[in-house]
């Protein structure tokens, strides 16, 4: 009676016999000792790439009997150069995490998620998508991702095949403001040649917090060479051990500082006149504009004394072209303030005035790898959609390829956007106000998330499709630009722990078939990869063996100023494009959108070296570091705290017009008194992520859902909060 009808009893396996295995091997302890001793025979070395952050450093994965055994940085990858950071080591734990997505899931009518088969998922999503497109047109569908190599190939092709122009990336909450400023001024975003620079200014960017190993080693080399390093940041960040001077600037006023430094170069005739003459337009208009931005004026705005501004500008001019304001990522002006795009323009133009572009120790436009693509005769590519990407008319200056991702929830609330795919993206917690996102995504007819864990965005989705982790799958070949370009490959290092997951290339291919556009997905990932490396004279076998190959014939040309990718082909101190979009042709002082007063504070945020966005928060060993050192605390200026009777580690309430949060406080002298600072990795609310849930709070809960006028960015520092002791 006890024996039920077994669905998979081993008893039925007639050929099997326990006699095939010795008693010794049945003893796990004996077997482990024996298997471990066989170390050399069993260890494999697989070159691949990390996914702990957007740098995607090269790394070598050592595996033993199919399991991960050791990690180290890839020596030939331009971003790791032999070193892997703590995130890289810690994030690899994801492979073996219990809290990964294991199978496709569908949200049922009762709001709970139930496992479904891939076949059911593809069919239902495809049918719904066809229905939406038929009724509302392809413009009612969007795809959003934090780009990775396979997504760059497959996700972009998928949305285009559907006939929709609405492809967006996470940059709306990262560096789109900076890029908008740089793109229309010097035609792109170069990289600072830190290692060879003699004078380096960082504005909000902290190599010690948003770590990339190659950047850290370049900075160390610069210091060894005697370079002077200035940190401009309301917070004395973790790059400060390398710094000669910390300028605790009033948050949101970096633009005033740079305009005043430009004023000094012009007033004292210290700029590179030859470079301006040969490679720039609109300089006279710029000169007229910055005449009013004196150091004395800037002192009142920024809180940095006028003499310091004069000294730094003069010193940088004397060391030009080996002096540079580092280009930053999100830093202080990636997406933070109403004036961030103007700050981006001013920073680019100040560097141009130093004549440092394509000069050693200055700004370098790197070489690109020049990957190949699929042969369109063999694998027909979808047509470019006729419609304009939603958001382009509202924000014509924003980077076109990336778009303004927060248009999607806005249009959803307006009833215009009906379906959205989120791939490798936790937009609902990271791109804009989470409450707004929740309301908006609940308005949509179809939301699909493709990810490795049950993120806040996944929890707002009708369907959740699981990918294997980055260590368990092959990805598309990628090119890394730089001084010497490289071609790199992320490849499977270990067997899939969860066999019912599928990589993005398979998911998008099947989704395309189910949506009626399968004719654009007749190629395999290997077909693409072969096409990608073909122009480089490299075979996939070589790339698989090496993982990262520097392209010695693809080097940045130092010393020769390029033609700039702007309408004039020159550095545009005055931009007709800006004027046509309704803004000033030359960079102009714009105050921040909001100002703290009467004991309130600007809420600012930034990275920590052990986490990346919110994707690493559920990694136990990384979160343990957070807990060991109370890294989730709110930073508050010690004197300000004293005024409010707040002591170190007190529980405080942080309240804004949008939300209220409680968190422990860290009192410090390393912070401007007008701001409080919260690390950006916490505030996970997904109940599926038990390690991360309940630790700290998300700054984004306090950020109103709004758009920076020029770039469409989230303006994540334009929020004022009150802070009070909880039991006060």
């Amino acid at each position: 009676m006890l024996k039920p009808v077994s669905r998979r009893s081993f008893i039925k396996a007639s050929a099997a016999t326990a006699a095939a295995v010795s008693l010794t091997s049945f003893d796990m302890h004996s077997w482990m000792a024996s298997a471990s001793a066989d170390e050399k025979a069993a260890i494999s070395k697989i070159p691949t790439t990390c996914n702990g952050c957007s740098s995607q450093c090269g790394m070598i994965a050592y595996t033993k009997n199919g399991r991960l055994w050791k990690l180290e940085g890839h020596p030939d990858h331009p971003r790791s150069k032999g070193t892997l950071c703590a995130r890289g080591h810690g994030y690899a734990t994801l492979i073996y995490s219990k809290e990964r997505l294991e199978q496709p899931m569908k949200r049922m009518e009762n709001g709970k998620y139930e496992p479904i088969s891939w076949e059911q998922a593809f069919k239902e999503i495809g049918d719904k998508l066809k229905e939406i497109i038929k009724e509302h047109g392809p413009e009612s569908v969007a795809l959003v991702q934090d780009p990775r190599p396979t997504g760059n190939v497959y996700a972009t092709r998928f949305i285009k095949a559907l006939g929709s122009p609405n492809y967006y990336t996470h940059h709306v909450a990262c560096n789109n403001s900076r890029d908008t400023g740089f793109n229309h001024t010097i035609g792109g975003v170069p990289s600072a040649d830190i290692a060879n620079s003699s004078y380096i200014m960082f504005i909000g960017r902290s190599y010690g917090d948003g770590i990339r190993p190659s950047s850290m080693s370049a900075l160390a080399q610069a210091k060894e060479n005697g370079a002077k390093v200035i940190i401009v940041d309301p917070r004395k960040n973790n790059t400060s051990p390398f710094a000669d001077q910390w300028l605790p600037i009033r948050p949101g006023t970096d633009l005033a500082l740079v305009l005043a430094m430009a004023h000094i170069l012009i007033e004292k005739d210290l700029y590179d006149a030859g470079f301006i003459e040969d490679h720039a337009t609109g300089f006279e208009e710029f000169k007229k504009e910055v005449k009013q931005y004196t150091p004395e004026w800037a002192e009142k705005v920024t809180g940095i004394d006028a003499q310091t501004i004069k000294t730094i500008a003069t010193d940088m001019a004397q060391l030009k072209p080996k002096a540079v304001i580092e280009q930053s990522w999100r830093g202080a002006f990636g997406c933070n303030y109403k004036n961030s795009t103007e700050t981006g323009r001013a920073v680019a133009l100040f560097n141009a005035m130093l004549g440092n572009i394509q000069q050693e120790g200055g700004y370098i436009f790197g070489a690109s790898a020049g990957l190949g693509d699929l042969d369109p005769d063999q694998f027909p590519a979808p047509q470019e959609p006729d419609a304009v990407k939603d958001g382009e008319e509202d924000f014509p200056l924003a980077p076109r390829g990336r778009g303004v991702a927060n248009i999607v929830p806005l249009r959803a609330k307006e009833g215009k956007m009906k379906a959205a795919f989120y791939h490798h993206s936790n937009a609902a917690l990271g791109y804009g106000n989470p409450e707004y996102y929740k309301e908006a995504l609940n308005e949509m007819d179809l939301v699909v998330t493709i990810d490795v864990q049950m993120s806040e965005t996944a929890l707002l989705s009708h369907y959740v499709l699981p990918e294997p982790s980055y260590m368990e799958r092959d990805d598309a070949v990628d090119g890394v630009g730089g001084g010497t370009a490289a071609v790199v490959l992320r490849q499977k290092a270990v067997d899939r722990v969860h066999p019912n997951t599928k990589p993005a290339d398979e998911i998008f291919t099947e989704l395309a078939k189910a949506s009626g556009v399968g004719e654009y997905f007749t190629f395999t990932l290997e077909d693409y990869n072969k096409a990608a490396v073909e122009p480089l004279g490299i075979t996939m076998d070589e790339l698989r063996e090496k993982g990262s190959i520097p392209l010695e014939d693809k080097k940045a040309e130092i010393g020769t100023v390029p033609e700039f990718n702007t309408p004039s082909g020159k550095v545009e101190f005055a931009s007709q494009t800006f004027e046509d979009a309704g803004f000033n042709a030359v960079p102009t002082w714009i105050p921040p959108l909001v100002e703290p007063k009467n004991g309130s504070y600007r809420l600012t945020t930034g990275k920590q070296a052990i986490h990346s966005h919110t994707q690493t928060a559920n990694i136990p060993m990384l979160m343990q570091i957070t807990k060991d050192y109370d890294l989730e605390r709110l930073w508050m200026n010690r004197q300000e705290a004293k005024k409010k009777g707040i002591q170190d580690s007190d529980l405080v309430e942080v309240s804004s017009d949008s939300a209220s949060s409680t968190v422990k406080v860290k009192l410090t002298d390393r912070l401007h008194p007008e701001t409080v600072y919260i690390p950006s990795h916490y505030g996970i609310t997904s109940k599926y992520l038990t390690t991360a849930k309940g630790v700290g709070f998300s700054y984004m809960e306090h950020v109103p859902f709004h758009f920076q006028p020029m770039s469409g960015c989230s303006m994540i520092h334009e929020v004022i909060v009150d802070v009070r002791k909880v039991d006060a």
């Binding site: 009676m1 006890l2 024996k3 039920p4 009808v5 077994s6 669905r7 998979r8 009893s9 081993f10 008893i11 039925k12 396996a13 099997a16 016999t17 326990a18 006699a19 095939a20 295995v21 008693l23 091997s25 049945f26 003893d27 796990m28 302890h29 004996s30 077997w31 482990m32 298997a35 471990s36 050592y62 033993k64 009997n65 199919g66 399991r67 991960l68 055994w69 050791k70 990690l71 080591h89 810690g90 690899a92 734990t93 073996y96 995490s97 219990k98 294991e102 199978q103 899931m105 709970k112 998620y113 139930e114 496992p115 722990v497 066999p499 019912n500 136990p620 060993m621 599926y688 038990t690």
Partner: protein
């Protein structure tokens, strides 16, 4: 029926119990003689329990306790309860940590299944150290009357049921799964209390 075959059936019943419930397993637990036969086969007494839930309630209870689609789902994977590896040559910072998949137990189980020739017999969607796979292998060893191997397997791969019982108790004190897992634990403890190892078996094959 010989005792070892009764125990085999007991283990096969439990192997089904830890899979999403269907008609077959429900038919067994709703039989009037279920409790008696269970206690006879296990040699232990079932703690007093709740009323028998309906099949749909049982399905919901299983989902809320064990499904990965459930928040705070309890793991039925052995590796999760043990250090990931005891191999000191592993250079990963998490190597000695608990709470992860594909640890030493999974690796050993996969080896055993492959060597015995059972690797193609279990659903690839199951993990090699899922409790149902371990129980089915244990039942297979009883069927083959490989007593020493059975003892080693049970004592080394099911010695984490205390933690499983505790995890279920934390979530639902009046769960049928709790009472049944407690009974399985009592049965298994008869083999694990000796902390069996191969060396020990060589010295004294009967505990």
């Amino acid at each position: 029926m010989p005792d070892h075959m009764k125990q085999r059936d007991l283990l096969l019943f439990y192997a089904e119990l830890y899979k999403p419930p269907g008609d077959a397993v429900y038919e067994v637990i709703s039989h009037p003689d279920f409790r008696t036969e269970l206690e006879q086969a296990s040699g232990a007494a079932l703690n007093d329990c709740c009323d028998l839930p309906s099949l749909s309630s049982l399905k919901e209870e299983f989902r809320s306790l064990f499904s990965s689609s459930s928040q705070n789902g309890i793991s039925l994977i052995e590796s999760f309860y043990k250090p990931w590896t005891t191999d000191q040559t592993a250079a990963l910072p998490f190597a000695q940590s608990k709470g992860m998949m594909m640890g030493d137990p999974a690796w050993h189980m996969r080896y055993l299944l492959e060597e015995i020739g059972l690797n193609s017999s279990y659903d690839p969607m199951f993990y090699p150290d899922h409790i149902s796979v371990i129980l089915e292998l244990a039942a297979f060893l009883l069927e083959e009357q490989e007593t020493d191997k059975f003892t080693l397997l049970v004592s080394q791969h099911l010695n984490w049921l205390d933690d499983l019982v505790e995890a279920i108790r934390k979530q639902k004190k009046d769960s049928l799964y709790l009472k049944l897992t407690e009974l399985l634990n009592k049965f298994v403890n008869e083999f694990t209390i000796c902390n069996q190892s191969f060396d020990r078996l060589k010295e004294d094959s009967v505990c």
